[in-house]
């Protein structure tokens, strides 16, 4: 019930070198630590005592991680860029209006002024049990995500299952970035590496990100699309504040149709179809809808019942497509 934070040690390095040294030090000493960017995801979890790190390393002082620039046909977004800056940046509005729109759909204006893009693609998976009040959690045995031995959503889940925890992925920006085939740069003790955003995600609700403890995201790179058009639609009962009960991004070009989903499974969904493989457009659309439906695992852990959320997937995909077609005209 507490909203008091447990105490922790707080450090705020001011450049990447300092950060590297610090992380190295903590790793060698075996200290427990967590990064915080805007803190809008992590602070509520700390308050609800979902986890209690000994050390909080704040990235907010590292200006090298902020900002948006254009290099040739690539737009590079610093991981610490706030969602508000992202949504209002001229380059983003010009080349990736749908990304601006999705960023704009996150949480609330006050939160977007603080929340970062890095934090958003790294946002912790949610579930109606783990994101509960501590009092409610107290009356249940701890679940897998809380280092326990049971899942309250999928009662029959047991250790050894392929997917242990079904806490759902909720980032609003990730589906759009996935369709834009964004790459992310990861910095760790082993230096830098670059991966596709899609490779960041694992199908595990406990921690769905394939990062090592010492690794963090420094930037997100997106190529300016040539002839693709995108659309993002978010299912939420209110037009503000709510996490996506379902989020559907659609990307359409002369040759391809692709769809990315959020708000459902532990990892985002990503489906592609090549127009030339189908007899006609409608057939392709219905195939991609089928793929999405087959992927979607919904549970009653949201405002909307599972069946409804699922049934909205094809509706949103078709809406996305018709919106794109309408705009093209």
């Amino acid at each position: 019930m507490s909203t008091l934070l447990e105490s922790f040690n707080y450090v705020r390095p001011t450049n990447l070198d300092q950060l590297n040294l610090l992380v190295m030090d903590y790793i060698t000493k075996g200290y427990d630590f967590t990064f915080s960017a805007g803190g809008t995801d992590i602070i509520p979890r700390l308050k609800k005592q979902i986890f209690n790190p000994e050390n909080l390393i704040s990235l907010s002082g590292i200006s090298d991680l902020k900002g948006i620039e254009k290099k040739g046909e690539i737009i590079i977004i610093g991981a610490l860029t706030t969602l508000d800056d992202l949504a209002n940046h001229d380059l983003i509005k010009k080349y990736f209006p749908t990304l601006a729109h999705a960023a704009h759909k996150v949480a609330s204006p006050q939160i977007r002024n603080r929340a970062t893009l890095g934090g958003n693609i790294m946002v912790d998976n949610r579930c109606s049990y783990i994101n509960q009040s501590s009092l409610n959690r107290d009356c249940h045995a701890p679940c897998f995500k809380a280092d326990g031995d049971i899942c309250h959503i999928v009662k029959r889940a047991k250790r050894g299952d392929e997917v242990l925890c079904q806490a759902r992925f909720v980032s609003d920006t990730a589906p759009v970035l996935l369709l834009l085939e964004a790459n992310i740069t990861i910095m760790g003790q082993g230096g830098l590496r670059k991966i596709k955003l899609n490779d960041l995600y694992l199908n595990d609700g406990i921690d769905n990100r394939s990062l090592r403890k010492d690794e963090l995201i420094t930037k997100i790179e997106v190529k300016i699309p040539e002839n693709e058009s995108l659309h993002y639609e978010k299912l939420a009962i209110r037009n503000a504040l709510d996490f996506p009960s379902l989020g559907v991004a659609v990307c359409l070009s002369e040759q391809n149709l692709s769809v990315a989903l959020t708000g459902l499974n532990p990892r985002p969904g990503l489906f592609k179809a090549k127009i030339k493989n189908y007899n006609n457009f409608d057939e392709m659309v219905s195939d991609i809808c089928d793929q999405a439906l087959a992927f979607a695992v919904t549970y009653n852990q949201d405002f909307f019942p599972r069946a409804y959320r699922k049934s909205m997937i094809p509706v949103f995909i078709k809406r996305g497509i018709s919106n794109i077609l309408k705009e093209k005209k």
Partner: protein, 808 residues
């Protein structure tokens, strides 16, 4: 700014009827207004409450040793420390400050810690060891009806978990249904909803060296809290002073005495220290006291010629673990259907059940909201079936002035007809209803509410409200009232009364309210009673003051004082309260007449006959010569009302408000989303004392009704609150709020202060069925379950499609 007085009669008042900002707005807009948690007492202890994680359990043992041993912990209270239970109603004092032996809901207080800091208090909670024996919980009201050998409150009911049963029947139901052209029966289901006020509960207690305590608390009912606290703590009331600081919203959710208030006071007394407690948002949801979850079956008989011929309902309301206002709620579920239309044959049967869930109590529109939804939807269905226009039909059926309802409510002023007509004109009702394209719809519904309960909760012969008024030697006027400004603006209303009668500017009136040491008893802010009752009392105090000043002015001018008429009881039944101005005993009745041949304005008191004047200050000084101090009291006493049958007192009010809504919606038939585009409201609150405040109440009610209609619901899983946060409990945002058009609507209530009636609650109920009726007009489905979530819309649309397929 548009002229908000447009459309209302000009009665020549200077301050009454004018749009004036609430008098505490400036302090609030600067962040200077102090709410309970903003007060800084000297070195207070912080209190934290340990709450039960189980909805139903026996407390086998409770070990507080380790917690007490923690450095900085000053005291721990458990159920054993409180002998007396309490409750807002004398007839159901069933709630302990801390659970003793038995836990009845998840979140119930098990122990409380007072410590030097919040961190220590938190840490101490974790050291308290409780050994629970988990027992089978009663999770819904249907199960609660079944016989059991382990009821929640065996002291009240040994058989099952029925808390209160009310059955009233008027007329002849069978006869009524036989006269009907259509008889429709439907089941409805309503989720429990929360008040969602923004300021969480908070209490601070200051103790002096004689052991007297001052309790600063976010409460709507200082008076009831005062009484309950004296009883629970077993100390005289005069040792307790209750003060209500600025309050961040109540809506009924702060109208009970609360466990934390008892706990805080007890700690202060036991430890001799100042203490404070503030709830987290979760704790607010765990404490709840919101609108009852309701299952209701209603049957309507309707005749083309006669209108409603019979209405019957069977209702089960889930009260949760304790009584709260529940007995009143039980009655209100029936009696508040007695308007706005005549129902010749009427029967209602309501059971309130105890269950192992957070208790439900009073919430804006108390008890009347859910049955109103049902009746207005059924009425709409009847009209659709017979092919009548639902707006015209309602217009014809609205009570005429000065009638008696079937259950003997006295209906006096009614001004809704003109308002509804104007709303129909403005919305182009006839051009739209039934004629809009698929997905767009328009709907209508009406409602009715009390202007204060005529009978007090604790039976006594005192006036319903009393106001004290003083004038300083320099002419400053102070109004002292026990009425509780919870943000609705009652302080402003009290000041307006005094300013108008005494010809003063609003700035010259100070209001001191809701402080039991200083202000006279007022029963509190609930049942929309404050404007009618405290308003009349303030007006009457001012009229008495005026008489003193007029006499002083006459002495100064050397003229004869006016002759005041003796009060005389009106013979007219509908004006039983209608006494002539009574300057000696308190003015009881009709307005506007306090004309005494003098004009109070521009700092002068002028005799109209003699065209001579003295300054207000001269009169004050002269009056002080007689009296030493200038002080009056004014009272309001509700007239004797009602029938002679059992339960006749429920819902009696000196006057009733009437509301109509026309709502326009867009329904997305693919996603099931309902968007309320526009709400046009006609609300008869008599004469609006302050159109700015009245409009604010209307828009606020629309917001809250919208929430209940479309998204708000308390979700429980095995008795555990699933959505105790503003993220998961969905309160509509600015985006969802519709465009609002307010149609000036009025009547002249001869007993309300300057003709005013209720404007805070009744508005809420009809917006919800108006939305449902508009959804029917848009896509042809009848929704019978709240909230009308998109998935329910889709389900209903699919069912309608199937049914259609089956018949064609």
């Amino acid at each position: 700014m548009v002229d908000l007085t447009k459309g209302y009669p000009d009665k020549g008042y200077k301050i009454i009827g004018k749009p004036v900002p609430l008098i505490d707005s400036r302090a609030k807009v600067m962040g200077q207004a102090l709410y309970t948690d903003d007060i800084r007492l000297h070195n207070p202890l912080t209190i934290k409450i340990l709450r039960s994680p189980y909805p139903s359990a026996n407390i086998l043992s409770l070990d507080t040793k380790d917690a007490l041993a923690l450095k900085g912990v000053k005291g721990i209270l458990t159920g054993a420390d409180f002998k007396n239970t309490f409750g807002v109603l004398t007839i159901s004092k069933d709630e302990p400050a801390i659970a003793r032996d038995v836990v009845r809901y998840e979140g119930e207080p098990i122990a409380a810690v007072a410590a030097e800091t919040e961190t220590i208090a938190e840490a101490a909670l974790k050291l308290i060891k409780v050994n629970y024996e988990i027992t089978e919980a009663v999770l819904d009201s249907k199960t609660a009806l079944k016989p059991t050998d382990r009821p929640l409150h065996p002291e009240l009911n040994k058989e099952n978990n029925l808390h209160k049963k009310v059955l009233q029947e008027f007329g002849d139901m069978e006869q009524g249904f036989s006269e009907a052209d259509v008889v429709i029966e439907k089941r409805f289901r309503f989720a429990s909803i929360n008040h969602g006020f923004t300021e969480p509960h908070a209490t601070q207690v200051e103790i002096d060296n004689k052991g007297n305590i001052t309790v600063y608390s976010a409460t709507q009912v200082p008076h009831y809290l005062h009484m309950a606290m004296a009883e629970v703590l077993e100390i005289p009331e005069h040792n307790i002073r209750i003060v209500k600081p600025h309050l961040g919203g109540g809506f009924g959710g702060k109208s009970d005495p609360f466990p934390h208030e008892m706990i805080a006071a007890k700690f202060a007394l036991d430890l001799g220290r100042n203490v404070k407690i503030k709830f987290t948002r979760e704790e607010v949801f765990f404490s709840h006291h919101g609108r009852h979850q309701t299952d209701l079956t209603m049957k309507l008989g309707f005749s083309k010629e006669k209108g409603i011929t019979a209405l019957g309902l069977d209702t089960l309301i889930d009260g949760g673990a304790y009584g709260s206002f529940g007995i009143v709620t039980t009655y209100y579920n029936g009696v508040l259907l007695q308007g706005p239309y005549k129902i010749p044959n009427f029967r209602f049967h309501v059971n309130r059940m105890y269950t192992n869930k957070p208790m439900c109590g009073a919430m804006r529109g108390h008890g009347g909201v859910n049955p109103r939804f049902a009746s207005e939807v059924l009425l709409d269905m009847a009209c659709a079936e017979i092919g009548l226009d639902p707006a015209e039909t309602r217009l014809k059926m609205i009570h005429k002035e000065n009638t008696l309802t079937t259950n003997e409510f006295r209906i006096t002023s009614v001004g809704l007809q003109n308002g509804l007509k104007e709303a129909m004109r403005r919305t182009k009702w006839h051009e739209k209803y039934g004629k809009l394209p698929f997905g767009k719809g328009i709907g209508v519904a009406c409602g009715f509410f009390i202007s204060g309960s005529a009978l007090p909760i604790h039976w006594n012969k005192l006036p319903s409200s009393t106001v004290r008024m003083t004038i300083d030697h320099d002419g400053g006027v102070t109004v002292y009232s026990g009425a509780t400004d919870i943000g609705q603006g009652s302080d402003t209303m009290l000041a307006q009364m005094a300013a108008e009668v005494l010809g003063q500017s609003l700035g010259n009136i100070k209001v001191i309210s809701a402080d039991t040491r200083i202000t006279p008893v007022d029963l509190g802010s609930y049942s929309s009673r404050v404007t009618f009752m405290a308003g009349n009392a303030s007006r009457n105090a001012a009229i008495r003051m005026r008489k003193i000043l007029v006499e002083a002015a006459c002495a100064l001018l050397d003229i004869d004082p006016p002759k005041y008429e003796k009060p005389e009881k009106s013979k007219d039944f509908f004006r039983q309260g209608g006494l002539k101005p009574d300057f000696e005993q308190g003015f009881l009745g009709p307005n506007p007449d306090y004309s005494d041949g003098f004009i109070f304005e521009d700092g002068l008191i002028r005799s109209e006959n003699h065209n001579q004047s003295v300054t207000f200050l001269e009169a004050v000084e002269k009056a002080l010569e007689f009296e030493g101090i200038l002080q009056t009291s004014g009272t309001y006493r509700a007239p004797k009302l009602g029938g002679k049958f059992k339960g006749a007192g429920a819902g009696l009010s000196p006057s009733y408000s009437f509301t109509a809504f026309i709502v326009e919606v867009t329904v997305d038939s693919e996603t099931g989303f309902i968007k309320v585009d526009k709400a046009t409201c006609a609300h008869d609150c008599g004469f609006p004392l302050n159109p700015l405040a009245v409009n604010g109440q209307i828009e606020g009610c629309i917001h809250m009704g919208l929430g209940q209609a479309l998204m708000e619901e308390m979700v429980y899983d095995n008795g555990a609150t699933q959505n105790p946060s503003f993220l998961d409990y969905k309160i509509p945002s600015a985006f969802e709020q519709p465009v609002v058009d307010i149609v000036p609507t009025f009547s002249d209530d001869s007993e309300g202060p300057f003709g005013a009636k209720e404007a805070g609650e009744g508005i809420l109920a009809p917006i919800i069925p108006a939305i449902a009726n508009a959804v029917y007009d848009a896509v042809g489905i009848r929704l019978t379950q709240l909230p009308m979530r998109p998935d329910r819309v889709i389900f209903a649309l699919e069912k309608a499609k199937k049914d259609k397929g089956a018949t064609s």
